[in-house]
Point group: C2
């Protein structure tokens, strides 16, 4: 879409200035009303203590600035017929966004009981931060929002994610000077090195310097102007400054800055799209720096201390209003200073002047469909997994790197979405390290800086997003998903903890959005955790942490899914499933090193459908008799060790009735009432018969398995091996030995736990013990694993 270019420096005429100011005052009035008022919303009578809420909760400080920005976004959206979103970084200023949504009518369309009149205004006020009402922050409940802004740091990354592959979209993004101090936000400025002016929308950062955080001045707000300007230019922007505390002047300045910014964006787009990305000059994107007082237009002082323009305006500028008559009087003066009688008619409806620059229909910020991305979401044209599946004639005889096989699948998916451009792959400089590089056949890595001859797989229109920041990968992906697209984030397993807190927030968002009928389902956030704990040959202890699974299992079970495919085909089946799913956070853990193929694609699919099942071919159960022991496993390395243990036991103790169970969907272990994928006790007992010892080799920290199964009947018989935080730069087999999860240890565990077997099989056990001992000497001498381990194949020993 093209925008009409207007000469810079345009001033508002008096009517437009008056209209914008009226809208701003109305929004400020409605914001303060939400924080304070329980009744008397239009101040038709003198304010009395009982009109005021008994608990005053909310954040006033940032609110007038947000209202100013919303007012001026309305103006340019209307004037230029823009398709625009706004990400409100200071989302704790919830009253502002709610007030604006109510003014423009999108709130009433979403929540019909909150009518756009005095009765609705009373409801709007009362419900805010009130039990049974709405949260004090921008939240999933807020129309037009894709960003809560509770945990600060992610606004700008969300904005860029929303802009990707939305070439007609403008994403304004308000960044508070507090949020600007966070690491993720500081890194997000460089997102402009990845945004294509041809294929992507534009992001307009609005840095709001109101001077203070909760209790301190903000670092950027106190920088000398020249230093701030260097910084923002160095970050690739052309800053436009809007500064002041006199409303009329600020309105004029803001209108000019908005016009100039949008003109420049239109020019950048025009050049890039006409000349082509290569020929056009590298853009320097505009941004706005808005410097206005914290708590602007609120009480100047309280009890003799300055409030407006200081950190004291952060939350409630006047407290104790019910009991302090002076504060009550001050509150009434403050509210009346907006002249509500000019802004709302006798029935509480906003005046025509207030609404004169408010956009219509889906152009309203509270009604833009991009902010309810499920409305725009289309199912992916997934390739048939069979096209990439590996043939498996016999289990455990061939090796494939699971993620490399997935790479081929993603390559096909990239090819199928080349025109639609609604799928992207995200990773912290690790797509190739994670062996997904086949995807570069169909697309490249997004890159807007210079490209040299020696570079590979870089292009302005690439759909693989790589930057050495998990925060950016996660933030971009969230923004992309929340606006109705699909994606996958591949990460080193240990370093996904970097985004623990972002994942928390996204899960909380999904859990709440799922309960709102008007929020349409989104594509799930899919993690591929690879380069995992067991194979950090290059990097060692710092790169070993399988605890992300534990982290997500603390969260709402309706949102969280965890898969541990044991081989390449199972990974394909899982990928095919998670890319179809909606409103979940799917965590898939899979290795990048060659790993034995156990299941052909059909078997893999039906195994994934069950989520956990007996691998009859791997066990030695007699018909009709319960097994002596169960060897269970979850994860690729544990499966290999468990099967090697089974192999040893079959060979040395052929009379032992052993069952092998593999778990791919970890939530299956939970009781049916605790998770939608949970197994009934009956099904669970069918897999793990009460009274029979279960030796469970698990990919991660072993106690997770205990936590998931603590209420099961045979829990006392469960013995779990996993990663117990022992590691360094060493061989793959030494890693499992150090953590007591190796094949010999597992086999010894079985011997130790089957009643009577320890004595009978003492010599077998001793030989296993000896191999482990021999291992320690061998690796110190040779630096490689024992030949019998390195050369092991399923069934070979048994046949021999």
């Amino acid at each position: 879409m093209r925008q009409e270019l207007r000469p810079p420096g345009t001033a508002l005429d008096p009517a437009e200035l008056a209209a914008l100011d009226a809208h701003w005052r109305a929004a400020n009035y409605l914001s303060a009303g939400q924080i304070y008022l329980l009744a008397n919303p239009l101040l038709t009578e003198p304010l009395r203590p009982e009109h005021v809420k008994p608990r005053l909760l909310g954040h006033w400080g940032t609110t007038p600035g947000l209202n100013l920005i919303h007012t001026h976004l309305n103006r340019v959206i209307t004037a230029r017929d823009l398709d625009a979103l706004c990400v409100w970084g200071p989302g704790h200023g919830g009253p502002a966004v709610l007030a604006n949504s109510w003014l423009e009518g999108s709130y009433t369309e979403t929540y019909p009981d909150v009518t756009r009149d005095a009765a609705g205004m009373a409801r709007l006020f009362r419900q805010f931060s009130f039990p049974g009402g709405v949260p004090s922050h921008v939240a999933p409940e807020t129309p037009g929002s894709i960003h809560e802004g509770g945990e600060l740091g992610y606004s700008l990354a969300h904005a860029y994610g929303a802009a990707l592959d939305n070439p007609g979209l403008l994403v304004a993004c308000v960044i508070g000077d507090g949020e600007a101090e966070t690491g993720p936000l500081a890194a997000s400025w460089h997102s402009n090195k990845f945004l294509s002016p041809v294929h992507d929308g534009a992001v307009l950062p609005i840095l709001h310097l109101n001077g203070y955080k909760i209790a301190n001045p903000a670092v950027l707000a106190r920088l000398p102007r020249a230093e701030l300007d260097e910084l923002l230019r160095g970050l690739g922007h052309d800053p436009l400054y809007v500064e002041g505390d006199e409303p009329a002047q600020v309105h004029q300045s803001m209108a000019r800055a908005m016009d100039e910014a949008l003109d420049r964006i239109a020019l950048i787009r025009h050049d890039a799209r006409r000349l082509g990305a290569e020929a056009a000059p590298r853009p320097r994107w505009p941004m706005i720096v808005l410097r206005t007082p914290k708590g602007w237009t609120g009480p100047a002082r309280r009890d003799g201390l300055p409030v407006e323009g200081t950190w004291r305006a952060h939350q409630i500028p006047l407290d104790d209003v019910r009991d302090n008559p002076a504060h009550l009087r001050q509150l009434e003066e403050w509210l009346r200073s907006y002249r509500p009688e000019e802004l709302f008619d006798g029935r509480g409806r906003p005046s025509a002047q207030v609404l004169s620059r408010v956009p219509a229909g889906p152009r309203r910020l509270g009604a833009n469909p991009h902010a309810n991305g499920g409305l725009l979401l289309r199912s992916l044209p997934l390739p048939p997994p069979a096209d990439c599946a590996v043939p498996v004639d016999a289990p455990g005889t061939t090796l494939h790197a699971p993620t490399a096989v997935l790479g081929a699948y993603l390559d096909r998916l990239m090819a199928r979405t080349a025109e639609r451009r609604d799928f992207r792959l995200f990773g912290a400089d690790e797509t190739a390290s994670n062996r997904l590089q086949e995807v570069y056949r169909a697309t490249a890595k997004a890159w807007q800086e210079e490209i040299l001859d020696v570079d590979e797989h870089l292009a302005g229109d690439g759909r693989v997003m790589e930057v050495l920041s998990e925060h950016l990968c996660q933030g971009w992906l969230e923004g992309y998903l929340l606006t109705g697209r699909h994606g996958l984030f591949s990460s080193y397993e240990a370093f996904v903890h970097i985004v623990d807190s972002m994942t928390n927030q996204h899960i909380k968002w999904l859990r709440t959005a799922r309960r709102l009928p008007w929020r349409r389902p989104l594509a799930s956030l899919n993690y591929l955790l690879t380069s995992h704990v067991w194979r950090q040959d290059h990097n060692g202890f710092s790169h070993q942490d399988p605890g992300f699974v534990d982290h997500v299992f603390n969260k709402s079970p309706e949102v969280v899914r965890v898969y541990l495919p044991p081989d390449a085909n199972t990974l394909l089946a899982v990928a095919d499933h998670v890319l179809r799913s909606r409103d979940y956070v799917n965590v898939v853990v899979a290795g990048k090193h060659p790993c034995f193929d156990w299941l052909d694609l059909d078997a893999a699919r039906s195994h994934c459908e069950r989520g956990a099942g007996i691998w009859e071919w791997a066990g030695s159960e007699d018909d009709g008799r319960e097994p002596d022991a169960v060897l269970a496993c979850a994860g690729d390395v544990p499966t290999q060790e468990a099967l090697a243990a089974a192999d040893l036991l079959h060979r040395h103790l052929p009379e032992l009735a052993l069952r092998v169970v593999n778990v791919v969907d970890l939530a299956r272990l939970l009781p049916a009432g605790r998770h939608p994928h949970g197994m009934t006790d009956r099904d669970y007992d069918g897999l793990f018969p009460p009274g029979r010892p279960v030796i469970f080799a698990y990919h991660g920290y072993p106690w997770l398995i205990h936590r998931l199964t603590y209420s099961r009947a045979n829990h006392d018989q469960l013995h779990v091996r996993g990663y117990v935080e022992e590691g360094t730069t060493t061989t793959p087999f030494d890693m499992v030995v150090r953590n007591d999860m190796d094949r010999y240890r597992l086999a010894m565990d079985v011997i130790d736990r089957v009643p009577g077997l320890a004595t009978r099989a003492a010599h077998v056990r001793q030989r296993m013990h000896d191999v482990r001992y021999r291992h320690h000497g061998w690796i110190r001498e040779h630096g490689t694993d024992l030949p019998e381990v390195a050369g092991w194949r399923w069934g070979r020993d048994r046949a021999g």
Copy 2:
């Protein structure tokens, strides 16, 4: 300490140039040798396949740059007698730091078997990334290091933390262009706004632009020079550029840049310390930008593809060397290109020329005591907790905000360390929000930007560190602790997840360092988690996450401690303990809202010593008879609800023999073999008698308690209530009701689980049920909690 000023632009004379180049070549040779060689370390015979390691692991790409920097730091340390540390951000370039430590002799002093001769060189080579040897990264095992550089992002924050309160120290910090893309690093640049030129040391950032990460060009390396310069100036630095690929020219340029940087630092210090911080101009600190090729001096090409200067040099520039004769030949040529015969004598000892600029004794980077901070650590002059304890005549009748009481204690501690300056408090703009503001009586918040009249508690010499970045708080604190000082990080409970991964790394560091006899114990890293899940009245769901405790319990038990003091005096007792402790990560969870005082200081202390105990005064056990049920609790809000439940049960069911157990040290629940604080089964069964129902009200996610206790005898009788991820902006009591942890629910749980009681107490249970029902209506109407809840006091109902 003063440094002699030298005129800028000094060139190296030929002898010094030759000496520096020899040192650099020696370090490069030793680095490549570590990655490749198993034998023949001095290349005294032609290189054969069996001289090469079977598994090639390590990172060559960054290594020559690190060696260059080390060589030139040696020069200026020697020339100026500097007390200096270096933080190696690209710590995966471990071979470089090991090579330099071996050259300067600090390695042999630390590990006498790795002698500074041919035999030792052979050991140095062999052990690298070899089973039983040393990790491939800089690690606790590496002399002179306080930073692993495995998970990238924290180098600069560590460097600033090391510099704080070390006015004589220079902390050089190498930042890779990959790491520079991370959020935490991007935020860390602003640390210079918190560093006092009077009281703190200097940080010299060296941004190493070698162009590529693992697989991609780096964002900063590809910026146009002018844009990069604006960025670094905007970040408050005066950059000095060293660029090239011709060694002699780069040596000259690097020497000039180092001299100029150190001269400027000396001037800044001199001005600030002579004129005073207020009068001196705000410093613009120097930094160095080093632009050299990735894998510099390594193989230019491999199999026809460029390696040197590209991402292909990141790890192993020549692979498959044992089996590929061409690669073997290339490796030998490469190694011989450093002319080892000039660098080492016939017995493998470094030549006098190589060592001519290496500093002596503790001035060596591998031997500086600041990098083994325990050597410098002094016990804190802790104030007596009794000075701040609150009087408790009867339990549950008075209220105090625990963190406010702790604030008074910390204030005294700040006063007692005013001269020593070895204790700091860290927090993300939340010290006052967390109610610790009494600390400002003794010190202020560190702030180097402009201070306005309206500001409070800001000063250049303040020892409270506040910035809106948990990453910076954590990184600074880690650097401060690792160099032998003390600190406390207070955080909103939910947002401490932002540093989950940093905590992982620090715990891994401590776990490894504890096993090294030469690493001396450090002060523990102490977290105060407050503004916790149950009291997010202002902020709601996004601010509710008690899962950090789960996160740390996955880590090495020898390092992790978790405390949940139930009231103010218990918090004081815990604080007194954790501030004395060494080499732990202590997580203390406590509320900032007024909470009932249960224990006087003596009782609090003995309760903390036990870690978990029966509160006889709160129960109703008969002598000699086992209780009918146990009500257990951990955390301030759960304790309040459990005691209110006990109160209800005493009043309505006086015949019930109820035991109340409070747990303050959560690891006590673990078995004795699993954690140093773990309880024996006998002690555990003494608290929680097998066969008796236990209703456990826990502060966080309930399944953690199951995980800690799954092997205990009475586990089947354990029923845990906690946070189950339900929340919004609402009242305190509504929060516990939403999560089924309220007093009525707990009392009903007891009734439901004591055999036979449900029938007998049906009417009592019904009344409790009714109150919960009434609560829902009440809060929706009034917005406040039920009067009987808000007005509850321990024992009042029983007496009445």
